[in-house]
């Protein structure tokens, strides 16, 4: 394929060359196990310490509150399962939102099978959690509130500060899955009263297979992966030193360029949104118009189905994603689109395009041009569109 326009940065990102350069020596030169006593391992140990500081600085945490994991999903599993285990004497009730990533939702469902009760708080039509519902759901036996920092599909940024204030007021722990938001938008664990936070390397131009968990000092959750004494005896397993160096470097770069990249991506994103809404009829934007990730655009095109659209986009060299059932392998479309109140047939026609700072205005215009033709073509063969046209002349 000659042309490649990668607009699926919410799925994963390209590793920056600077990040790879920082990682490489830790494969071949400084390959020592940081837990070892000899001085040869000292370089690995220092590299891990440096990365821990780089991560801590992103969210205003202390270095001893940062733990390295195998990825965002592991961090989410750890936060929910270990909190459930450690605080079950206080209660067995957990609150989360209806639009969480499956790493949270499926873990919560697993906990329900093991004697815990979970309340899934709804969201408004823009995907923002209903704060009054959240507060009303708190009970004496509630031990944890877990709400994502920003939604992976529709890009809505959740009101973390308000959620944190509610959690604090009621003495409930607050975890946030920040996989999409970490190092993309400002987060401060103290200002937002966050007790635990999950993040991932490959969403910020770092490597795959490395994640982070922030655990506030005083939160008493224990180990989830058992074994050696790494990570203050809370996360066993030999340190993935190259991965740790990579996520640290990626986080440092992301924060240094956050303002510049945000400004750039918002300009492109808004151009994309404006053109699509103006030029393609029967289209809606999903997610909050202003409180949204700088790189996220998510649309529903009526009368068509998402997978067909993705295949045709792919043939034009454009990588996107959809919340249609056909792309998920189930019969139901995205739980996020259903939670914001969309009917099934509209939710099936969704398209998520997530930009990067490498995306150009030319890419966006090319994509919109192709998209217009694709939507037109699919509508021309859609019985739903045929019925609609007949009904409305």
């Amino acid at each position: 394929m000659s042309k490649l326009i990668y607009l699926d940065n919410a799925a994963t990102t390209q590793v920056y060359p600077e990040v790879l350069d920082a990682m490489l020596p830790y494969f071949t030169e400084h390959y020592g196990n940081p837990a070892a006593i000899y001085s040869f391992a000292g370089e690995s140990e220092r590299a891990v310490a440096k990365a821990r500081k780089q991560i801590a600085d992103v969210i205003g945490a202390k270095t001893e509150e940062i733990y390295f994991t195998g990825g965002g999903s592991e961090s989410d599993n750890w936060a929910l399962k270990a909190t459930a285990e450690a605080y079950s004497s206080k209660g067995k009730h957990i609150i989360t939102s209806a639009i969480e990533h499956h790493a949270i939702l499926h873990t919560a469902q697993w906990l329900e099978l093991h004697g815990f009760e979970v309340t899934y708080v709804g969201v408004d039509e823009n995907g923002k959690i209903k704060l009054d519902e959240l507060e009303a759901a708190i009970r004496p036996d509630t031990i944890l509130i877990s709400v994502m920092a920003a939604n992976n599909e529709i890009g809505t940024i959740e009101p973390l500060k308000e959620i944190g204030a509610i959690a604090k007021k009621h003495g409930v722990l607050f975890h946030t899955d920040a996989v999409q938001a970490f190092a993309h938008v400002p987060i401060n664990v103290d200002e937002m009263n966050i007790d635990m936070l999950s993040a991932s390397g490959h969403k910020i131009n770092g490597p795959k297979g490395i994640g982070v968990m922030y655990i506030r000092k005083g939160v008493k959750i224990r180990s989830f992966i058992h074994g050696g004494a790494q990570e203050r005896q809370r996360r066993a397993g030999t340190h993935n030193v190259p991965g740790i160096v990579g996520i640290g470097k990626a986080a440092e770069l992301a924060v240094a360029n956050m303002e510049k990249n945000t400004e750039y991506e918002v300009k492109l994103r808004d151009h994309l949104i404006e053109r699509v809404l103006a030029e393609i009829p029967y289209t809606r934007l999903n997610g909050d118009r202003t409180d949204r990730l700088p790189n996220n655009a998510n649309f529903c095109f009526r009368f068509i189905e998402g997978e067909s659209m993705l295949i045709l986009l792919d043939q034009a060299g454009i990588c996107g994603s959809s919340g249609s059932a056909c792309t998920s392998g189930s019969l139901d479309p995205s739980h996020v689109l259903l939670a914001i109140g969309l009917p099934h047939e509209i939710a099936h026609g969704s398209l998520r395009l997530t930009l990067s700072e490498k995306t150009t205005m030319e890419d966006i215009d090319y994509t919109v041009d192709k998209l217009k033709a694709i939507i037109e073509r699919l509508r021309s063969m859609s019985p739903l569109y045929e019925d609609f046209v007949r009904k409305n002349g």
Partner: protein
């Protein structure tokens, strides 16, 4: 994930469109699961299917199975068209991924629904044709195996 034939029928779907005053037309599937197929048939006085057209809302496999189903019934008698099963459609497409098998069932149902409409309009009974299930999800789940 799709065979070359599926991609060919998705990219160049045969017989897309409508037939004015069709002998029979049937719509199956539902928007809830994300697949709707409408098939139009033009059947001559000798009971031969002269023309078949379709419109489909659905994934790549749904479009390809509709396209192939119209190809397979064209020029056939009603009885022959009834033999165009979901398996026949899948085989003609060199197979479908397991999660897409239901698309081929939908194609079979679309043929049946159009024939049923024809039979009702002409007040005849087609042997071996049962009232089609308009909503494919009312039927049993498709078997989860590779064909």
């Amino acid at each position: 994930m799709y065979s070359e034939k599926v991609m060919d029928h998705f990219n160049n779907p045969r017989n897309v469109g409508e037939i004015e005053n069709p002998s029979g037309v049937g719509t199956v599937g539902n928007a809830k699961c994300g697949d709707i197929m409408r098939m139009y048939l033009d059947i001559d006085d000798n009971g031969i299917i002269q023309e078949a057209k379709f419109k489909t809302f659905g994934c790549g496999a749904a479009v390809a199975t509709s396209s192939m189903a119209t190809e397979l019934v064209k020029g056939k008698t009603i009885q022959e068209a009834l033999q165009v099963t979901n398996k026949a459609v899948m085989e003609a497409l060199d197979g479908l991924p397991p999660v897409k098998v239901h698309c081929s069932l939908l194609a079979e149902e679309a043929i049946h629904a159009a024939l049923w409409d024809y039979a009702e309009k002409h007040n005849i009974k087609i042997e071996g044709l049962e009232r089609p299930v308009n909503d494919i999800s009312e039927k049993e789940e498709a078997p989860e195996e590779e064909y």
